[in-house]
């Protein structure tokens, strides 16, 4: 009960039907229905990000023996909405010597690349927008576009600090892509498929979860994932104390809001993929499947937030050394052993 079935497919078909009855030509009708489903995803992501921003401030506050937002609504739950309104109302400045095209398009690239990966995430039994049979490969490929966005942002701001920040973040993301993908390959070998629904379907019971068979893979994925989304201890690109916000130092208003939005979208994405690959996705007794998915994802989000507020940050060359000299050999060994004993 309470199962939503394949909500996206049903809504798509209902919209197609509706437009067909209104006599709209075939191509435009398909496009419009896709837009409606995309709108649903964006709506969902917005809600999730609103919740996550509030939750991060509460979690960090309680860990630092203070309360966090308390005045805007009950325990500050309206805080994010008010912050978003403030950012929208802010003046959208562009530096005089900035590269106008690049400056405008960089936040869009960053946000779109995060959003497009949500097409393949299984939120519940059948609740997936499109179960591509190359699901996880598609996600890995799409999320790499973020690098282009960050480099464009750093370069087009025409500011020494932004360029330094952009270079650092590009180097970091590219370095950590490799162990990330290798750790995912371990699960793919065990599940014998790249499709997200198939991977989830093969973990029906708690003893079948891939985390037991791939513990090292899970840890590598978590660490590399945190590095991918630029959070402490890997948040050199945004190190406030050194370069005062790095690549997005010149951004204000809505463009800054898009970077901020993209960071939390990515955060939820990393946890969602980890849940699907290692923690059994939406499987679980009694409760509806989408509720299980959210519980597991939010638990991982909480762990990532916990890391942010506990550890100091690594220096840029130590970060690279860690990726290339430690995580990469470990991921290779993990892959070889999985291949041998699967």
């Amino acid at each position: 009960m309470f199962e939503l079935g394949n909500l996206f497919k049903n809504i798509y078909l209902w919209a197609e039907n509706l437009f067909y009855n209104w006599g709209i030509p075939q191509i435009i009708l398909e496009l419009l229905s896709m837009v409606i489903v995309a709108g649903m995803i964006i709506g969902f992501i917005t809600l999730a990000v609103l919740f996550l921003v509030w939750w991060e401030r509460k979690v960090s506050g309680h860990m630092q023996s203070r309360f966090g937002p308390m005045r805007t609504g009950w325990h500050g739950w309206l805080q994010t909405i008010i912050d978003a309104i403030k950012l929208i109302l802010k003046e959208d400045t562009t530096p005089e010597n900035a590269d106008k095209g690049g400056f405008f398009i960089a936040p869009i690239i960053v946000f779109v690349s995060a959003f497009m990966a949500y097409i393949c995430i299984p939120f519940g039994k059948g609740l997936i927008v499109k179960d591509l049979n190359i699901g996880i490969l598609y996600i890995m490929a799409i999320t790499t576009f973020t690098v282009i966005g960050l480099l464009t942002a750093g370069w087009s701001s025409n500011n020494k600090y932004s360029i330094l920040g952009g270079f650092r973040s590009a180097a970091q993301i590219i370095s950590y892509e490799v162990p990330l993908t290798l750790s995912v390959l371990g699960v793919v070998i065990l599940a014998q498929s790249l499709s997200m629904q198939t991977i989830t379907n093969s973990q029906k019971h708690i003893w079948e979860w891939y985390i037991w068979r791939q513990p090292v893979g899970f840890l590598i994925y978590l660490v590399a994932g945190i590095a991918e989304i630029n959070r402490t201890p890997f948040d050199i690109p945004e190190a406030e104390q050194e370069l005062v916000a790095g690549y997005n130092v010149e951004y204000s208003g809505m463009k800054f809001a898009m970077f901020f939005f993209a960071e939390y979208t990515n955060l939820f994405l990393v946890s969602a993929i980890a849940t699907t690959l290692f923690l059994g996705g939406w499987n679980g007794p009694f409760l509806p499947s989408w509720l299980w998915f959210f519980i597991k994802s939010f638990f991982l989000v909480f762990v990532i937030m916990w890391f942010k507020w506990t550890f100091p940050r690594l220096r840029v060359d130590q970060l690279m050394g860690f990726a290339w000299k430690f995580l990469l050999p470990l991921a290779f060994i993990n892959l070889i052993l999985t291949g041998l004993f699967a």
Partner: protein
């Protein structure tokens, strides 16, 4: 192939870590000459906070100048008070009653703990660990409550007077302080848990910014930065002033004189200060808190130079008196002034992220440098 790579032309460029920056602990301008991420050379520009304290001293009486001494370094203003007042008392041979000395030592050691807590919070904030900052300030609030109970002020106390202290401690002060020390000592263990053995913290601080003893002495470095190089020199033990010879405490020192050593020295100093406070609370006698001085206080003619051990180094006062109620010349020697000169020397060749860690470990506070 290797030859081609080494011939790649990289340009040096100048970066300004400007007067407004979250990590420079005050208004300091550092002009850095960098090659990529490596710092090649650096020129500090100071003077943004110059308030001409020495010129003002020639225009105020000794009693009127005591609130000004608070502001030499507002994070340890009890020390600045004590230094000035002690110097004038020695010049004029004014005896200080026993109870006043004990109260002074308690206040000063509590202030040392508060100052090191500020340092610890901002140091870990610079390295990216944001949470210890809030824990340190939570502890510091309790110390500031104790100060507020005694003298009414939280930051610049104006508490000491020539010949003693201005107000007696209230009856609740002693049990509250004892409770604070009992609460505080396990907290220091908590901070060490988060930071001292953390591999990320170690890789950011071990082996970084080595300051060898000779460079330190040549450049006049004193205080915990000097003790981090292995030299066990503390004015409270080696040249005891006030009543420090009656207390039992140790002087921590480091071995490898890197950032991590300077960090551990200060953490241990916090524990030692707590020990001193407990001992003083046990033994504090009854009695007057201030000797009566003349209404218009005129010390005899002469010159005097006296130094005390402040949290950032030696603080010395050189006072020239010509027998009038106002001093003829006051020179304030502060620890951060000399400690800052050593920053360009030990940060050459390190990356900019290390520069932040090194600067944090030297514990420089700009009002002391500029006065």
């Amino acid at each position: 192939m290797n030859q081609e790579i080494s011939e790649i032309y990289t340009e040096e460029f100048f970066v300004n870590m400007g007067p407004q920056h979250p990590s420079t602990h005050g208004v300091l301008r550092l002009l850095l000459k960098m090659d990529g991420e490596v710092v090649l050379d650096m020129v500090p520009h100071v003077g943004y906070l110059h308030r001409s304290m020495e010129k003002i001293a020639e225009n105020r009486t000794y009693f009127q100048y005591i609130p000004y001494t608070d502001r030499i370094d507002y994070s340890c203003s009890m020390f600045c008070n004590q230094g000035f007042v002690m110097t004038v008392e020695k010049l004029a041979n004014v005896p200080v009653p026993e109870r006043a000395e004990y109260i002074r030592v308690i206040m000063v050691e509590l202030n040392r703990i508060a100052s090191h807590l500020i340092w610890l919070g901002t140091f870990s904030l610079d390295l990216g660990a944001i949470t210890p900052f809030l824990y340190c300030f939570r502890e510091r609030e309790k110390i500031l409550d104790l100060f507020e109970m005694t003298c009414g002020q939280r930051l610049t106390y104006n508490y000491m007077r020539i010949g003693g202290v201005s107000r007696d401690i209230t009856p609740e002060f002693i049990p509250m302080t004892k409770e604070f020390v009992k609460y505080f000592l396990p907290r220091v263990d908590e901070y060490e848990d988060i930071l001292t053995d953390n591999p990320i913290f170690l890789s950011r601080t071990k082996g970084i910014g080595i300051l060898d003893q000779e460079t330190a002495i040549d450049n006049g470095v004193t205080g915990p930065s000097l003790r981090g190089t292995g030299l066990k020199w503390d004015l409270r033990k080696n040249e005891p002033y006030s009543i420090y010879d009656k207390f039992d405490f140790e002087i921590p020192s480091g071995k490898a004189s890197d950032v991590w050593d300077r960090y551990t020295v200060r953490i241990k100093e916090m524990r030692e200060s707590a020990k001193i406070v407990l001992q003083a609370l046990e033994r504090i006698p009854e009695g007057p808190i201030k000797t009566k001085t003349a209404a218009v206080f005129k010390p005899p003619e002469g010159e005097i130079y006296l130094r005390i051990e402040a949290p950032r180094g030696e603080m010395g006062f050189y006072i020239v008196s010509d027998g009038s109620p106002k001093p003829y010349r006051v020179k304030i020697r502060t620890g951060s002034f000399s400690n800052l000169t050593v920053l360009p020397i030990i940060s050459r060749g390190w990356k900019i992220a290390d520069l932040v860690a090194i600067f944090g470990s030297l514990d420089v506070v700009l009002p002391e440098v500029d006065r």
